[in-house]
Symmetry: C2
Subunit: 284 residues, 2 copies
């Protein structure tokens, strides 16, 4: 299948949306950022064998390639709007492509994100996405706004994706002594789902815009990502490991409190938001 056919296959499934004056099909897309808003832009690439196993389900790969980018927009408090997709494929497997698009465009539809450009090339499997969105002028959640005395918050639960990596035998996390647990099938599926299909916290990020002082998404691990906020903001932080939120599946997999907390603090791939806010905002 030639490149133009692949592009046509993708274009036929891309949705329209407000702000897209011209989508796929020209040399560049033409887009309109609403007045009084700033454009938020982020880019993240997923490579086979590095960010996902080469035999991962194509729909999961598609979902995650967009999810990690929407998570970055969420952590800025931005509303996702558009994306580009550059897809390097080893062969002409249209069944693979269709399944990939099921995941990618399924998540895009959920957040009303329009695919507006990109390309397909022959090469080792690699997915490069740039996601764009907008945020009210001055309301973006940056890393450099945390203040002394702020509370530190995290959305959802932490550690499930890291546990799934341990379960899968990948363990690319620097944790000594994390043995592979024996996990009941239902719990294992729950953990793996968090790794395969992270849910970007777009609605929470929107609600936090103009309210939180600083925000980051937890992709590298809570300690590393909170460290980014601390460095940029010139503050320190204290975390009570015992109070890190854990899912029932994670508690079942790791009954040992210390082991579980280590996984939650250093594991990463959670795509939850970590943010700081004034203690006065606790009621909000």
């Amino acid at each position: 299948m030639a490149e133009f056919d692949l592009i046509e296959r993708i274009r036929a499934r891309a949705i329209a949306r407000d702000g897209v004056l011209l989508g796929i099909g020209d040399d560049a897309a033409l887009l309109q950022v609403p007045a009084g808003h700033e454009l938020a832009v982020t880019a993240d690439t997923l490579n086979a064998g590095v960010h996902f196993p080469a035999d991962a389900a194509p729909a999961d790969i598609g979902w995650k390639a967009l999810a990690v980018n929407l998570s970055d927009l969420a952590s800025m408090g931005a509303r996702p709007a558009w994306c580009t997709l550059s897809l390097s494929l080893p062969g002409d497997d249209t069944a693979w492509l269709d399944a990939f698009l099921d995941g990618f465009l399924g998540l895009a539809d959920t957040h009303a994100v329009a695919l507006v450009g990109g390309d397909t090339t022959r090469g080792p499997l690699s997915i490069a996405v740039t996601a764009m969105g907008w945020v009210e002028a001055g309301a973006a959640l940056r890393r450099d706004g945390a203040r002394p005395g702020d509370d530190v918050w995290v959305t959802g639960t932490l550690g499930d994706a890291a546990a799934a990596l341990v379960l899968g035998g990948y363990v690319p996390i620097p944790l000594d002594g994390v043995a592979m647990p024996v996990v009941e099938a239902g719990n294992a599926a729950a953990l793996r789902a968090r790794l395969a299909r992270p849910a970007p916290r777009v609605a929470v990020g929107r609600a936090l815009a103009g309210l939180a002082h600083a925000c980051v998404d937890v992709s590298d691990g809570l300690l590393a990502d909170l460290g980014h906020i601390c460095r940029r903001s010139g503050v320190g932080a204290e975390i009570e490991l015992a109070r890190l939120p854990a899912s029932p599946a994670l508690r079942a997999a790791y009954a040992d409190d210390e082991l579980r907390a280590a996984l939650q603090a250093a594991g990463g791939d959670d795509y939850e938001l970590c943010f700081s806010a004034s203690t006065a905002a606790r009621e909000a």
Copy 2:
């Protein structure tokens, strides 16, 4: 060298510019499109062994990765402003990275383009770029605006890059009977320079915005790219092959008129602009 060190190495060399409220260093960049303008966005990836030989000079690879994207913006009549760069690298070769940045950021500086985001990952050598720019509302040069009776124009000269491909023994172009010519060293260098370092026609594109009816950049070959305009605009086109502009180096390499014209019409990789305009605009 860890990813954060690579990013810091890149960030330290990225320039600031108007419209960049927040550059590299947060989850997303924050950018400002001037009022009354539309955002133009394009994405193009270059893979080793597909778009350039694996042993190509890293500075040339960097230059070309940005150039092919700026060429897309030029063909819309847009002013380039920002880009993201996702770089997959097989190893930790900082000398390679620095040379790559010499080419990439050298061209970026020429056009006042700010690098505002991206990532670096381990993987087969691949460079995914998204370029953004802006154009006055309604003035963009689309593919679908050509009208019956328009003149067809092309900037610069065509065929040099295709000749360099033949010279290099790559010949990924579907041309029968194109023998490798014997070319004097200076001419060979001139042809190779056009392939290695195409010059995006930004200034011409800007001058054509609001003047030309339709425009495309010549990346796939003149006939294929003009075909895009014709399909989108619902028109036909006539080209006099003998009048295609050729460089002195190309004329020296291919004295045979028909062979030269075939290379110019079907070769591609020129990154010149092909546009249509009313005959009344000939004086402009």
